[in-house]
């Protein structure tokens, strides 16, 4: 079913505002997405009707808040295909989810063990491993890119060894938009006896996700990249693995019994959730998921794919645009990184802003990837369910003007 853009755009109040006298054209969805008004209404309702701390009180209001909070956990679990809500740990964001695994796993790894990641990773799924390797005497192996800047599965296979204890890769690259073959990666990794962490920051919210099908051990993602609030994220972890892992942070909520001499841990996922969680963040995230489900993840995926093809077709026709070989639309979400020949990305982005267009200019927290491309920075347009062909046309015509003015 084609998306009803007009109707959807009405659900996102910010899209009707003006920037520099022009209609806002928001193309920075990989950084964060805009919010549907359903979650605003939910916040109002929650604060006006159901707010209390969770898991603590025995009074009705606390039970209501707890049930909303745990209900959100269930919605999130279902959204990514987890077997049980207890496989979802709330975190602040995808970054914290990755760090949780790094810290908790550190205690299980020993000198000489190896971690395998890719050169294209976001710093969030790269720096924690770099650091863990340095601090614990582990070896970090890094998968290269193919000539079209895709995940190099052959290189991956050649670097996967019996010593590899963890494979950490993105589901979707935040620079190229390519969907990595995570199912295949997980199968190979498990054969070699390694655990698999998938960074789903750029996939959840753009396509149907099923962690069971991927068969990953961990899946990290953020609410704010899929219509939810910032400050809420999650780590999916297979139940039997979470049970074996040590807690990350300590304090209230994550304990079962505390004496002056010792403490015992709560069950997963709560043993990983020290302190009062982002209660309203989780609840609003659940609401955003309800909204996305109503539209249908398959429909969103199809809409983005169509826009991607349309945008790539137009960009390929501009002689002054360099797509760095990332021209394919197969196995890809709607993220497009490119450079405007003779114009620095920051200058281009500042001028595009004059036309009301928000695109990202920079290294996108993927400096090793930039080094592979041979540029310090790129422009990046990233789309979502509310973007339209008309907005792509506005971008293309503005790019022509920018190039004329500055190159």
């Amino acid at each position: 079913m084609a998306l009803d853009s007009k109707k959807i755009r009405k659900d996102f109040p910010i899209l009707s505002r003006k920037i520099n006298g022009r209609s806002l054209v928001y193309l920075d969805n990989a950084a964060t997405t805009q919010k549907p008004k359903a979650i605003l209404e939910k916040l109002k309702k929650h604060y006006e009707q159901s707010h209390a701390n969770v898991h603590r009180g025995v009074y009705a209001l606390a039970e209501e808040a707890t049930s909303e909070f745990e209900g959100a956990r269930k919605k999130i679990a279902d959204f990514v295909g987890a077997k049980s809500p207890n496989e979802i740990i709330f975190t602040r964001n995808a970054t914290e989810a990755v760090n949780l695994v790094a810290y908790s796993l550190a205690k299980k790894l020993k000198k000489g063990d190896r971690i395998l990641t890719a050169v294209s990773e976001h710093h969030s799924n790269f720096v924690p491993w770099l650091r863990l390797a340095k601090e614990s005497g582990l070896k970090l192996d890094i998968v290269k890119l193919t000539p079209t800047r895709d995940f190099n599965i052959r290189d991956f296979k050649s670097k996967l060894t019996r010593k590899t204890k963890l494979v950490a890769v993105a589901h979707v690259s935040n620079v190229s938009g390519y969907i990595y073959p995570v199912q295949k990666i997980a199968r190979e990794a498990h054969k070699a006896g390694a655990l698999v962490l998938v960074d789903g920051a750029q996939s959840a919210g753009h396509m149907p996700v099923d962690v069971k099908k991927i068969d990953c051990d961990f899946f990290a993602f953020s609410a704010h990249k899929m219509g939810g609030p910032s400050g809420a994220g999650a780590l999916y972890g297979k139940k039997e693995i979470l049970e074996k892992l040590e807690p990350f942070l300590s304090g209230g909520e994550m304990v079962r019994e505390v004496s002056t001499k010792d403490a015992s841990w709560n069950d997963a996922p709560w043993k990983f959730e020290a302190g009062t969680p982002n209660i309203e963040g989780a609840i609003l995230w659940g609401e955003a998921i309800d909204y996305l489900k109503k539209i249908g993840m398959k429909n969103i995926e199809r809409h983005e794919k169509e826009l991607l093809k349309y945008a790539l077709g137009k960009l390929k026709n501009l002689s002054f645009i360099n797509l760095h070989g990332m021209t394919g639309s197969i196995n890809r979400t709607s993220i497009i990184s490119f450079n405007t020949k003779g114009v620095h990305p920051h200058d281009a982005a500042t001028l595009l802003d004059r036309y009301g267009i928000c695109v990202r200019a920079g290294h996108h927290c993927a400096q090793p990837f930039m080094r592979e491309l041979g540029v310090p920075a790129t422009l990046r347009a990233s789309l979502w369910l509310y973007n339209t062909r008309r907005e792509i046309d506005i971008l293309i015509s503005a790019l022509r003007k920018v190039h004329r003015e500055l190159a």
Binding site: H346, D347, T350, L351, P376, A377, L406
Partner: protein, 125 residues
Amino acid sequence: MDIYQELIMEHARNPRNAGRIKGVRAIRAKNPFCGDEAEIYLKTNNTPHGWRIADIKYEIQGCILSKAAMSIFSEHIKGKSTREVAKIKDEDIFKMVGGMPSPSRQNCATFGFEAFKLALPKEGI
């Protein structure tokens, strides 16, 4: 401030003091915000009036504002005493380039200056 005003565009198109100085070691700097890079070549002389900037050249890979600011700054400091240039602040750079850029672009204006600070010898300040 409009970043793309005449002064900036003119300097970006015709950067002053761009290039290298033979026999002088380059000091490299990288802008952590955007990955832009610069190399500074700095020559100082000990004169009867103290240490002075005898010559400055640079190579910079960056946006229009960072290139123009580097050019304007290099003109500004040439011949000045190191004591004097050590007192320069970010605000002075904004004045030189014709105003305060929006928050996300301020680091572009000051990048050359930051790189220069790495190159400035500590003696005589």
